[in-house]
């Protein structure tokens, strides 16, 4: 597994954890990149908690930039990766 694959896998795992923290009963259900949020039976506020948990985990803001419109776990991963990339660039710029 190369570095990018490791990051992708780690972000996916973090998203799974966030979903299962909001709805522990989903522990028993396999989650995958293509899993659609609408198929998980999450209410709108539960979805907002998933976003909150991801913001907490990565120290980034998804909501302020209206980036919480993702429909699948893969799309959520892309949002997180984009924000992580931006954060890294800002850190490099600062040094």
């Amino acid at each position: 597994m190369n570095e990018l694959e490791e990051v992708v896998s780690s972000v996916d795992e973090q998203i799974y954890q966030a979903i299962r923290k909001v709805k522990p009963s989903l522990q028993a259900i396999p989650l995958a990149a293509e899993t659609r949020f609408e198929n998980l039976g999450l209410e709108s506020l539960e979805r907002a908690i998933v976003v909150f948990e991801l913001e907490d985990a990565y120290g980034c803001s998804i909501l302020d930039e209206n980036l919480d419109t993702f429909e699948t776990i893969a799309e959520a991963r892309e949002v997180v990766l984009m924000l992580l990339g931006r954060k890294q660039k800002q850190a490099e710029g600062a040094t």
Partner: protein, 411 residues
């Protein structure tokens, strides 16, 4: 109005409780009969700070015995206790979700603080850890009426449903409101009582700063008493019109014969005897009961110097010479002070006192105090015939609520 055009008589047909004396009304009563104290040195920590206070946490309680992990994401302890006690009360009344017309079932509860645990966690997150965003579940978890919502959903109750928040008197005020709702025909039945879960660092420190917390234990009406002890728990009853109870052949614990409410209009913190005495007189009048008929009072009895002195004076003012013949106990000495829930717990204790003809004790009692010279049922339960009893609660702000219970419904 009933078929005669008179207001409905209201009876109690189910009881439930969660407290430091156990999960369930009967375990609580059994511990009361053994003079068990649920108050213990309790370690609380938050935001990197830690302290030990005497307090009464719920014993023998595992949330996962009562709720799914998904449900617990949304339910702070105060709401969990409310639901558990309501389930017990409904089962005890022989009722389940869907029984009867849903619009005829009300849910009227008391709580002083709502989801205090979630609120303290949020304080730490936002003000100590300096995170920018609060958990989206914070509002649904902390709002005071969450307990009412969960119970109305669980039992499909679509009748009048609301929370009453008058601090230490909230559950008794809630029962008084539920009584009025059923008495005047806005619902045939109600789940009523209250719950609270305030045993945490911020709340304990607030009450310590107000100089009302005991550093030892709760010893109401006793010499050397030094304050109240905070507790968690819930007490619930099912009330219904007498016609409703008779139609379905329900077991009737007692008639909720009358209620009295008043305000001292004196001080935001210090109680005055006129207010509670007024509430007592109104309650007796509304129940058409003479003071001499009352055998037992489950007192507010917080264990603070001033409450117990003023409460004693109020009872003397309302009952005259009969005050000396009353058995008066504070069961807070055993289950602690669960603020907006404690009136429910004490109502359940009062009903079981009537059922068993035993006054539960005021434990930790060391001896008579100059200001408190009535019969407080010291340390041991006291068998006596209890046909008529009172449960009373008084809150900061001088807000008072009293309920009168009568066992013989034929009278």
């Amino acid at each position: 109005m009933n078929s005669n055009g008179a207001p409905h008589r209201v009876v109690i047909t189910g009881i439930g409780s969660v407290s430091s004396l156990g999960v369930g009304a009967r375990p609580m009563w059994s511990n009361m009969m053994d003079s068990v104290c649920g108050i213990r040195p309790t370690r609380v920590s938050s935001g990197g700070l830690e302290a030990i206070f005497p307090a009464a946490q719920v014993s023998g309680y595992d949330p996962l015995d009562h709720f799914t992990a998904d449900e617990l994401v949304w339910r702070d302890p105060y709401a969990q206790y409310a639901v558990v006690a309501a389930r017990e009360a409904m089962a005890d009344a022989g009722l389940k979700a869907g029984d009867g017309d849903p619009s005829e079932l009300a849910v009227i509860l008391g709580s002083g603080g709502g989801g205090e645990h979630a609120r303290e966690d949020a304080f730490v997150r936002l003000l100590v850890d300096r995170k920018l965003r609060a958990n989206p579940v914070l509002v649904p978890k902390t709002n005071l009426q969450a307990s009412v919502g969960f119970i109305s959903i669980e039992f499909g109750a679509t009748g009048p449903s609301f929370i009453v928040s008058t601090g230490c008197a909230a559950a008794t005020h809630a029962v008084a409101q539920a009584f009025l709702v059923v008495r005047h025909g806005h619902a045939r039945r109600a789940i009523t009582g209250g719950s609270e879960a305030p045993v945490m660092l911020s709340v304990l420190q607030a009450f310590q700063a107000a100089q009302v917390l005991s550093t030892t234990t709760c010893r109401p009406f006793s010499r050397d008493r030094d304050g109240m002890t905070l507790a968690e728990g819930a007490g619930m009853v099912v009330i219904e019109s007498l016609e409703s109870a008779r139609e379905r052949g329900a077991h009737i614990y007692a008639e909720l014969a009358g209620v009295g409410m008043s305000a001292d209009a004196q001080s935001s913190v210090h109680p005055a005897e006129q207010g509670p005495a007024q509430a007592l007189r109104i309650a007796l009048d509304s129940a058409h009961i003479r003071p001499e008929e009352v055998a037992y009072i489950n007192a507010h009895g917080t264990g603070t110097k001033i409450n117990d002195r003023v409460e004693t004076a109020a009872v003397k003012m309302a009952f005259g010479d009969h005050a000396r013949k009353l058995a008066i106990s504070s069961t807070k000495s055993m289950h602690g002070h669960a603020f907006g829930g404690v009136g429910g717990i004490e109502l359940v204790a009062t009903l079981l006192a009537m059922e068993n003809d035993v006054a539960p004790p005021t434990i930790n009692y060391l001896g008579e105090d100059d200001d408190c010279d009535l019969d407080y049922v010291p340390n041991e339960p006291q068998p006596r015939r209890i046909e008529t009893a009172i449960s009373q609660s008084f809150a900061f702000g001088g807000l008072n609520a009293v309920v009168v219970l009568k066992r013989d419904i034929e009278l």
